[in-house]
Amino acid sequence: MPEDKTIQQLGLDEYKYGFRDPEEYFFKTPRKGIDPEIVAMISKHKNEPEWMLEYRLKALEAFYAKPTPQWGGDLSELDFDEIYYYIRPMENQGRSWDDVPDDIKNTFEKLGIPQAERETLAGVGAQYESEVVYHSLKEEWEKAGVVFMDMDSGLREHEDLVREHFGTIIPADDNKFSALNSAVWSGGSFVYVPPGVSIDIPLQAYFRINAENMGQFERTLIIADENSYVHYIEGCTAPTYTTNSLHSAVVELIAKPGARIRYSTIQNWSHNTYNLVTKRAVAHENATVEWVDGNLGSKLTMKYPAVYLVGEGARGEILSVAYAGDGQHQDAGGKIVHAAPNTSSLITSKSISKGTGRSTYRGLLKVHEGAVNAKSRVECDALLLDENARTDTYPYIEIEEKKVNTEHEATVSKVGEDQLFYLMSRGLSEEEAMAMVVNGFIEPIAKELPLEYAIELNRLIQLEMEGSVG
């Protein structure tokens, strides 16, 4: 391919911070910024069907038309013209661990994924440089008809399924960032679980951004067919960058009647990343959707996982934890819409703020008329680690039905002198005492995660508290 050399030259920027592997690009857009030509180039490069190209171009129109949100966080420094919208690594996807290139293995090493864990990982979809490079799926899953692959492969191999569901939960023109993602999406996971199939071991995807100024626009679609169960987990750690970078994902979940989806994320973006993610799920009759969401790092995160309870007896749960250190703003929360009778929901949001960090809970609870016996509980707790830290709560509640039962509770607490003294009097240093209080505070969320993720979450928060993470 003639463009290879140019691309590699482009990729060999100087690495000033963080750990990075030499970037060897297979394909990278020839310039920063976004226009119809770039979008067409991405689509053409992936050999996509015509309808996807049209979808992308229409989404681009919506992106131009939509204003940048003025609520939430400060987006004034985000420059859409300073971003590469598509980069694809040189290596193609591996089916087994042995097929994964060494430099990528090294990155996993640096991310601290223990070998034992890698081996027990039942299926790993690792998004690396905008693209999933490694997938392995346990044989019995394949036999059971479970599909777990990157979104691009999903589009190629399961075009009908993708076409039927893609963008139905989050339309391209839902908001400016969903429009952007719909225009330039790349990578992400596609999961389909057939009726009655339960996957006991979580599907896991590790990924990180690895190119300066590169937006990451992964697109995930999970379809759990009737009476099936799946737990999908993603965790990511990003190294430090010198200029602002953008992460803007779209995640759509569909839980058909009687199905249950649990989606767990721990995100730790570098401190100059804008993390602007649209996540939404629909739960049909007697289906359950649970979001477990940990937000660390980033300069600004705006993320409000949503569950639309559209079938009778559906249940939605959103558990989130956010840590805002110096200079960071975590604007996170959840949205629950009750649109059917006998539906229930729970939002538990925990935030920790330190120094000039600011955490915001922004949530919507909506009960449509006719959603009788809807039951909902919203609990948001904020923990302030010092005097300057800031927290705000914006709980929007719209209830059109009389026969409902809703509760809302918000608490703000400070790590107290007495609490620290108590722990220190037992031999813990001040830092250890503080970490213990914080770990206890997030325990209700951490205990919902598999053990290794819970440990990772605690470890990341401790590193952030020590200020040793760039």
């Binding site: 609490q419 003294f421 722990l423 009097s425 037992r426 001040e430 005492a433 209080v437 770990n439 206890g440």
Partner: protein
């Protein structure tokens, strides 16, 4: 072992301790009795190093070391322990997890998880505590009696050289009081000293003190043997005020 000389301390600019002297030898159990507001809890907090109290004069040494140069955790590592009157709640942190962290931070060599588990089980059995207690979040939703038992459990686990009991007996029923006393008596020996701070004589029926001191207005006004506690119970704190009040204020 513990030597307190002319200790003055204040909180929020108000002087509470006004020249307190006390010396505790190794293996000795001392009781300090006094009415409300005499400065008993201030003394225990100052000895352990609560940051809200300010020491304005005097000196305290523990095995010859000036403790005012040390943070609370460093004092704990030297072998000092305070059983709190009002222990803080730490939601989300289990008693077992807390004990593991605390024990390993004061010990030179960490215990293996199995040794730790056995030790916790053993001490809990000794204090007649339900094994499930170890999985509860530290002091969250504990009854008064459970909090005090938990303090004693921590004391047994940490095996201190000096335990300061800050009104550990107040609000306890007889059963809980017996358990608390059992814990202190179990540690009693040539290597263990205790300072029992109390309003009432009751606990001293279960833990026999070697010395009894009476505190009033931030000082120790009189000292004696265990008979002094009985005398106090009979005559009441008004008698102390009449007898020693002027001395304390001079």
């Amino acid at each position: 072992m513990l030597k307190i000389e002319n200790l003055h301390a204040e909180i929020d600019g108000q002087e509470i301790l006004r020249g307190l002297d006390l010396e505790i030898g190794q293996g000795e159990i001392h009781a300090i009795m006094g009415p409300n507001g005499s400065g008993k809890s201030t003394l225990s907090n100052v000895l352990m190093g609560h940051p809200r109290y300010e020491v304005t004069d005097g000196a305290v040494t523990f095995f010859g070391q000036d403790i005012f140069e040390l943070e609370a955790d460093e004092r704990a590592k030297l072998g000092m322990f305070l059983a709190f009157q009002y222990p803080s709640e730490v939601p989300g942190v289990s008693v077992a997890n807390f004990l593991r962290t605390a024990v390993n931070s004061v010990r030179e060599k960490e215990l293996s998880p199995m040794e730790m588990y056995k030790l916790i089980q053993e001490k809990m059995r000794f204090l007649q505590m339900d094994p499930k207690f170890a999985e509860r979040y530290l002091n969250e939703g504990f009854s008064g009696g459970e909090k005090k038992r938990n303090e004693i459990l921590q004391m047994l686990m940490l095996d201190p050289k000096l335990a300061i009991m800050d009104e550990t007996d107040s609000g306890l029923d007889i059963d809980a009081l017996q358990v608390v006393s059992k814990g202190v008596n179990a540690l009693r020996g040539p290597e263990f000293s205790a300072l029992i701070i109390t309003h009432y004589n009751r606990i001293l029926r279960y833990i026999e003190p070697d010395h009894v001191h009476v505190m009033l207005d931030g000082r120790i006004v009189t000292s004696g043997q265990k008979e002094l506690a009985l005398q106090l119970e009979e005559k009441g704190y008004d008698w102390v005020r009449q007898e020693f009040g002027s001395a304390a204020q001079s």
